[in-house]
């Protein structure tokens, strides 16, 4: 068991800066997801932690030991690769026991650990097969079993589920979570799939263009994104953003008067999740013209416009809205976020905003 400290890591390829002064701490036994779009540097960061890539500057500490200059084999970690990287010329048993074998463990211990890891991932019937005889999902299990068999203090996973089909991914996700919870290993999990990050992680670190945008528990990241980017990247459908003018320290939206944080300039961005917008009858809201309705089963998704800006709203299935209609909406005022249009940074949360006079009577 070990904690991981990433201290001021920078990585540049020529003139391209892949990671810029990244700081990150992962507690012992924590499951951290590194989330970001492709090319944001998340895999590079993982490979630097693994020792497969060398950082341009900065330090990586695992369990209090500075491993920045050590080769991968001396860092005491295990890794699950995106394309599994299961050795094709070895049986599943040899694959799972590989790490222990290389560490010079005795035969009895190897057998015991392999049996345990195989049982954990339900691959006992395949132990004497070759990877070519296995399906993608089974190979994925072998890769995870190989990593867990050495009882690593740190487990790194690089988009391990991205090569599986949707249904299998859902199944493996739940299983992975229970297995890792049981193992209690410190885990860093790289993914571009925000649902996966939300579902698995204790905390999520969102990377964009080589910088960490926000680190926090899934619920916090979802509800109170630190930047416009995070709000747009986390959640499906993404957060709505309305750019609004500020007059006399107030923002008028339909019949609502909202108070953005005092430090806002001439304009401010109002961020609100589609499910945090409630249709209201008559007054006490702002108009929203519906262009598309998508009945998704548990709810209906409406896409349309407010003040010429695109918005998405999620409404309960029992309140169908005709296309072309204009309805009145009001945000749940404890769930809105204020952002600076220039920097994209969040300047205030819902608590800061006060609902204006007309709305307060509602």
């Amino acid at each position: 068991m070990a904690d991981i400290v990433i201290d001021n890591i920078t990585k540049s390829f020529g003139s391209f800066v892949a990671l810029e002064r990244v700081d990150l701490e992962v507690a012992d036994g924590e499951f951290l997801a590194l989330l970001g779009p492709s090319g944001c540097g998340k895999t590079t960061l993982l490979r630097i932690i693994a020792g497969l890539e060398t950082q341009s500057s900065g330090h990586v500490t695992i369990g209090g030991r500075d491993v920045s200059a050590l080769p991968p084999r001396k860092r005491g970690l295990a890794m699950v690769f995106q394309n599994y990287a299961v050795f094709p010329h070895m049986t599943v048993r040899q694959n799972v026991g590989f790490g222990l074998h290389m560490a010079g463990a005795d035969a009895a211990r190897i057998e015991r650990q392999v049996a345990r890891a195989a049982a954990l991932l339900h691959i006992e019937p395949n132990l004497d097969r070759y990877p070519a005889q296995l399906s993608g999902g089974q190979r994925q299990r072998v890769a995870v079993a190989r990593a867990l068999a050495i009882e690593p203090s740190v487990l790194l996973m690089d988009e391990p589920l991205s090569n599986l089909d949707a249904l299998l991914r859902l199944e493996m996700r739940a299983e992975l979570k229970s297995v890792l919870l049981e193992a209690g290993t410190t885990t860093i999990y790289v993914t571009h799939d925000q649902t996966e990050a939300m579902a698995l992680a204790d905390r999520i670190a969102i990377l964009h263009a080589g910088r960490i945008q926000q680190i926090g528990p899934p619920a916090e990241v979802y509800t109170f994104p630190a930047t416009i980017f995070v709000g747009g990247f986390v959640g499906s459908p993404p957060m709505n953003f309305l750019t609004l003018p500020v007059e006399d320290g107030c923002v008028r939206l339909g019949t609502l008067t909202l108070t953005p944080p005092a430090e806002s300039g001439n304009q401010v961005v109002l961020g609100v999740r589609p499910e945090d917008l409630e249709p209201t009858v008559a007054a006490g809201g702002f108009p929203f013209t519906v262009r598309v309705t998508e009945p998704l089963g548990p709810h209906i998704m409406l896409t349309g416009e407010t003040l010429g800006q695109q918005m998405r709203v999620v409404v309960p299935p029992e309140t169908p809205v005709p296309v072309g209609a204009t309805i009145q909406l009001r945000p749940r005022n404890d769930r809105i976020v204020w952002m600076d249009p220039a920097s994209g940074a969040t300047v205030g949360r819902g608590e800061v905003a006060k609902v204006g006079t007309e709305a307060a009577s509602d």
Binding site: A85, M102, R146
Partner: protein, 268 residues
């Protein structure tokens, strides 16, 4: 559909005939004796009275066995050098991004662009100075330079086809780079490397010109036959030709599975 099938089958027949007919004719002349060689048209079916007389006649020519031995020596050395030099170079080309990698790749191919005929005189002089002239070892060096481009480029594509992640996984799970190469990369590349070895052997075994120029008394089989057979009767020449292709054909036949698996990897 049927037209496509006809074209397909015709193609196969033509390709087979392209390789097999010459071999068949040589074999026919080699076992048929003097009469078959001079007969025209050739009999379509092999003659019933196959005689190994001509073969024996050929094998009785003084020096054939010794020169065959020199050929094997040169070919085995050529094979060893091609592997020892070509495989590491191929690995470097496949795995490391170094300055001038593309140029290097091109230069490797360019070594085949120099006609051996132009190099023959300076090579001979150089070999005499170094004491390599008229030795199977010297010939094997020359053959290695012919086989090496092939060895380097094929092994580069072999290593390229082995995912880098496999190696990285080996590093993460406790291997030093050398150990990872030996335990993970080498076993996967071995069939292809075997094929490279066989090709190097065959290239050396079949090469005539350099071998003729660089030797006098210690001639390899091809060079020896070139000088001896021109004075022999036609059917003996055919017997010699036939016996010369047998080892290459046999070698490739035995290694065919390995060759296909190499191409399988290379085209994946």
């Amino acid at each position: 559909m049927t037209v496509r099938r006809t074209v397909y089958i015709t193609g196969i027949v033509v390709l087979c005939a392209w390789t097999l007919v010459p071999i068949y004719l040589i074999a026919l002349a080699a076992v048929g004796g003097r009469t078959v060689v001079n007969n025209w048209p050739k009999p379509f079916l092999p003659p019933t009275d196959i005689s190994l007389e001509t073969m024996r006649e050929f094998l009785d020519i003084a020096g054939v066995w010794t020169s065959a031995l020199y050929s094997v020596e040169a070919a085995v050395l050529c094979m060893a050098f091609s592997i020892l030099l070509g495989v590491p170079a191929g690995y470097a080309l496949a795995r490391f991004a170094f300055a001038g990698a593309t140029t290097y790749r091109l230069l490797i191919l360019l070594t085949r662009a120099f006609p051996v005929a132009i190099l023959a005189l300076p090579l001979t002089v150089g070999f005499i100075r170094l004491g390599l002239y008229d030795t199977p070892f010297g010939v094997s060096l020359m053959h290695t330079t012919l086989a090496l481009p092939f060895a380097v480029l094929v092994s580069a594509s072999l290593f390229q086809a082995i995912p880098r992640e496999l190696e990285e996984a080996a590093w993460v799970f406790g291997c030093s780079p050398v150990r990872a190469f030996l335990r993970v990369v080498l076993p996967l590349a071995l069939p292809g490397i075997a094929a490279v070895a066989i090709f190097a052997f065959v290239i050396s075994w079949n090469e005539v010109f350099a071998a003729s120029v660089l030797t006098v008394r210690h001639k390899t089989l091809t060079a020896y036959l070139l000088s001896v057979l021109s004075e022999s009767p036609l059917h003996v020449q055919f017997a010699g030709g036939f016996l010369l292709i047998v080892p290459s054909v046999l070698f490739i036949f035995l290694a065919r599975k390995r060759l296909f698996s190499m191409w399988g990897i290379a085209t994946r």
